[in-house]
Symmetry: C2
Subunit: 218 residues, 2 copies
DNA sequence: TTGCATTGTCACCGATCGGTGACATAGAAT
DNA sequence: ATTCTATGTCACCGATCGGTGACAATGCAA
């Protein structure tokens, strides 16, 4: 209608050189940025294309659609800690030694890692609402890494044979995830103020106490 | 354009009698139904009006908008258990007596209550993503009821003075919520299968064990 | 009976959504 | 130089979104 669309199509802008690989990468990067900045509710072809400054049709051409884009995104990213991020030899050990102290320290670092990786927290909360290729993939990696972490701790501090280690770590891991995710938006939970350092300390002290009661030799 | 809109407006349908209060109630009921059925992502004026078979403009007229509708909805609903739902005198007591057994039983019933109240679980997950009037209101109620629950248990089984009861219950409550919400969509967590009764039992056994170690007289 | 506020219906607005078909251009192969 | 394909641009589709203005019917007050 109006005075527009003279050149009609093609590379109308002086624009960047054509480069499929680079464009693909732009799209993937924009996906992560958008997810971190706006959350999964805002994720969609239009929003991603806009952010990547790319035409949305290329998302369909290069990935095949939203679902497939998420799958590709899941493949190329690193969304979870490695065991060394939590227990690495260059990290300071706990003040007291022993299984309980190491357990509490690992959980502390787990929560700290989450708080510095909002993208991962976003995916974790996504997983609770509508699982998808990205969250599935993250869940797999997480399962493996968690097992490795537990294995490492058990190697150093053998647990009582009758102790259900999986149940214990599931309990503590679930609590950590919940509180970390929830703390982004709401500070109070069960009388604790998750915005305060000290209240987190109380939680980790409790973890250590539980560990001491169940793990350390009497 | 077409052959429609002869009568133009008003009560075109034979329709129901005009009744502001009833219409308000329809809207509120539809809000809850939609939330339970589709989740908070699907919640909006259009969807609610459609479900309530009511014109959406009435939502603006009677409530003032989405935000205010949520506030009103939060006021008229009951979204959390009462202490008696978990510890009522007509419910069977645990097989063994003692603080740990009661603690585990309470958490068991807490999770059971959640699983039979999908609307509450929906709100709980909502709260982790985008807090609003409904989730705030639920959080208040929950805080009060949790305190009452803990108070009742402590009244029966006084805890060691130096035990941080708030931290302990926060840990266990957080874990319960996380696992209950998550289990709707994903069964596996940390090697446990939340679709299986037995694996939940392992978790509650662990709770009882923790309780025994920290609460029961040595 | 007349007037009037309440209740409800409808059409429409601009924005955004996921998705597609048509076309222009660049760059390599021939 | 010519052809061809991969790459990117654009316009448009129907559906849905939140939101509003205009109007018809109801029923009560005067």
């Amino acid at each position: 209608m109006a005075t527009k669309a003279k050149t009609r199509a093609g590379t109308r802008n002086p624009s960047r050189p054509r480069d499929r690989a680079a464009t693909r990468a732009r799209i993937l990067r924009a996906t992560g940025e958008l997810l971190a900045a706006q959350g999964f509710a805002a994720l969609g072809v239009n929003a991603i294309a806009r952010r990547a400054r790319v035409d949305k049709v290329l998302i369909y051409r290069y990935f095949g659609g939203m679902e497939a884009l998420l799958a590709a995104y899941a493949e190329e990213g690193e969304f979870w800690w490695s065991v060394d991020d939590l227990l690495g030899v260059d990290l300071p050990p706990p003040e007291r030694d022993g299984a309980a102290a190491w357990l509490a320290l690992a959980l502390r670092r787990h929560v700290g890692w989450l708080r510095t990786h909002p993208l991962t927290m976003e995916i974790l909360s996504w997983e609770m609402v509508e699982p998808n290729r990205v969250t599935e993939r993250l869940a797999e990696v997480r399962e493996r890494r968690s097992m490795a972490l537990i294995g490492r701790l058990l190697g150093r501090f053998p647990a009582p044979a009758e102790l259900d280690v999986a149940a214990l770590s599931a309990l503590l891991g679930a609590a950590s995830n919940y509180l970390a995710i929830r703390a982004r938006a709401t500070r109070l939970f069960n009388g604790l103020d998750l915005g305060r350092r000290g209240d987190w300390d109380r939680l980790f002290d409790m973890v250590e106490r539980i560990g001491a009661a169940l793990l350390d030799p009497t």
